[in-house]
Symmetry: C2
Subunit: 413 residues, 2 copies
């Protein structure tokens, strides 16, 4: 990894070598500061130019290999992760009164969420470090993506999920052959138990807030957005926030591109949570440290009362000059319908929370109607069908008779 | 459409102009023979060379525009349909004892099934013909893909589904704003009612067996397979069969490439059904006309007792020198597990039925261990979570305590 200088603690700025084998800061005591990967941007530019990347025929996140903390020769799973489509859906733009709106549909990934970007890095690092088993705790998407990528890589996976995780996500990861532990408690309980078990068994740790490499996978969504817009940076990038790792990854991606000289400005980052679980939005809006909150939202992927990466998330928003907003679950369901009906995009509740927040920020005048905005849809709606049904209701039931159909359709119209 | 010479009846070979506005043969009486699109292969080669396609940066099925029956200037929805990944999963190959096995994962499409390839053509043709509403009957995937593509195109959609369609598919298409009619009967009842209603209301007909343009969209999966293998045609392509339109499309794709001189041989096509609903396999194996069958299989997308395109399907298999096989629902569930565990690919039951059939044909010695085989996974497993749960069972439930976890894991191991 010629492109990586080291890992730097986000709390105390201590730097360690990536070969040191530690994932948390050795100087920050028992708390263990979160680390950031530090790159040699000159080396990145020696390895690949922006033009070379633009001409690359590798239509996956690995077109950005020079920006990733893996050895170029490391084994990789066959799954095609990344290079998800960036759409400019006219219908949605119109319905929100926006002229320059893009949707990055990251539900179009092998296991149907953005988390594949982190999990594929996790399994590559696990094999680099000769670990036979990978593990994580997750509200669902990180889990199924880890299980899927581990299966493709020939690794075992152990997954801790909170009891509320939707059945689609559970089924998906069991299909991938994971050992699944359903923890009868909150996400906080789940995270804690996974950390204890990972330490006990010596499994490779894919918990995004602890493992500094995962945010590097997530950042590729930002690299793609920049390239898909011909390196012309949007005014805003807006997405949902749970643990805080994904928004941190998005910001890291744009910062890395900027520091490497591939883009000439940075976007503002907007983070959105549900009013049912908004510890980071509250902290941001009230300009105070975050405090734990209850987890009362249908958007299970971001129902995180005790976020694991609050500082990186809040830094991303603040440094970018961005903002945060909370939206109700009803607004989230409405965003599901709106994206579906106007654009043919089916997002899960947490996946469309960014779009719901966008609507709120446009109505408040924080985001202008003509600004160039990218809203990231982070997961596919098929992952959580029960909430989709909540959003839309039931179909019209008829006996196989045209007469009955005509009668019932008249009643409906 | 300079590349299209006309539509030819598959029964009586009568040809009509594509401008004639008829979708079934005017000479075949009330039955209405199914039509095939006839191309001018010289014109195709004048429009694009194989090398130009190979260098195209349009990573969707529209890289093959010269092989499609649409006007180049026609409006298209923004959704990225096609160019799904072709994997060579070592783990799966190993577990089946095969050295040269590829999986085409068509669950990686905007609405998570191969049917997007047909539906995007349907909405393009509907707009070409100035129809404001599109309609179809479907066991699910054609429905959700039509609804999604219609939403993206700004069209209304009316969808007829049999009452047994899984809730994931229903929710998906209601999210896309479709008017959904759940017909309390079989797929046959559903098809019949939709045909009556389509005629009554004058909606654009997306029923694949009637609309000759849809198979043209489906054939792009074959074009992609050829290109992704560097135009080196596989020995076998194997996939599930319901109505028969998809397998007909695959064969049409390879034939068109061959007739245009882009490939130098044709693959054998193997079609697979569930033993719970195998009218076409039975007809093929017993070399007799097909007869209606009950619809008793978990593979809902291919539970078609009265297939709409039996001739095209049987022709595809026979002309190619291929074969057909039926597999039990248990073998289908096992294929779901096998694909998931060894490859990180999650297919729905009908989606993996081809892979289950491959296993059977390898065991029978019909397909050799070193032959180059492409198995098409036609839909994403998230569409039918209840059957996935059947395949895998429930997770391990534990209270948030390491001690309990250690105890329960010991019991499991």
């Amino acid at each position: 990894m010629k492109n990586v200088l080291g890992l730097r603690c986000v709390e105390c700025s201590k730097e360690v070598s990536p070969e040191a084998g530690t994932y948390t800061c050795p100087s920050c005591g028992s708390k263990g500061g979160i680390m950031d990967v530090v790159y040699d941007y000159q080396e990145i530019n020696r390895l690949t130019t922006r033009k070379q990347v633009t001409n690359s025929r590798d239509y996956s996140m690995f077109r950005y290999l020079s920006f990733l903390p893996i050895y170029p020769e490391s084994a990789r799973p066959h799954l095609r992760v990344g290079w998800s489509p960036l759409y400019k859906p006219q219908g949605l733009g119109k319905s929100l009164g926006m002229s320059n709106l893009y949707i990055k549909d990251d539900g179009q990934n092998p296991t149907s969420s953005l988390k594949d970007r982190a999990s594929i890095i996790a399994v590559i690092k696990a094999v680099e470090e000769k670990a036979p088993t990978v593990a994580c705790s997750s509200t669902g998407n990180a889990a199924s993506s880890l299980a899927g990528n581990a299966a493709a890589m020939g690794l075992k996976s152990v997954i801790f999920v909170p009891s509320r995780a939707p059945q689609g996500k559970i089924a998906q990861l069991m299909i991938f052959g994971a050992t699944v532990i359903s923890v009868q408690g909150s996400y906080e309980d789940t995270f804690r138990l996974s950390a204890e078990a990972i330490e006990h068994f010596g499994w490779y740790n894919r918990n995004a807030a602890i493992n500094p490499y995962l945010v590097e996978g997530k950042k590729t969504v930002a690299l793609e957005i920049a390239e898909q817009l011909n390196w012309d940076v949007p005014d805003w990038v807006i997405l949902s926030v749970g643990d805080g790792c994904t928004i941190a990854g998005v910001w890291k991606g744009f910062r890395d591109l900027y520091l490497a000289g591939w883009i000439d400005r940075l976007p503002k980052i907007a983070g959105v949570q549900s009013t049912g679980c908004s510890p980071l939005v509250d902290a941001f809006l009230e300009d105070r440290p975050w405090r734990p909150k209850e987890e009362n939202t249908i958007a299970d992927s971001i129902a995180v009362g005790v976020p694991r990466n609050p500082d990186k998330a809040l830094n991303a928003v603040r440094e970018s000059g961005g903002t945060m907003v909370a939206v109700t679950d009803e607004a989230i369901l409405e965003a599901m319908r709106q994206l579906g009906r106007t654009s043919g995009i089916f997002g899960e509740p947490a996946g469309v929370t960014g779009t719901a927040g966008l609507k709120a920020l446009v109505e408040k005048g924080v985001i202008g109607a003509d600004e160039k905005v990218v809203s990231i849809v982070t997961g596919n709606g098929l992952k959580d069908v029960l909430n989709a049904i909540k959003a839309v209701g039931e179909p019209l039931k008829v006996e196989p008779s045209l007469q009955e159909l005509l009668m019932k359709m008249e009643v409906v119209e």
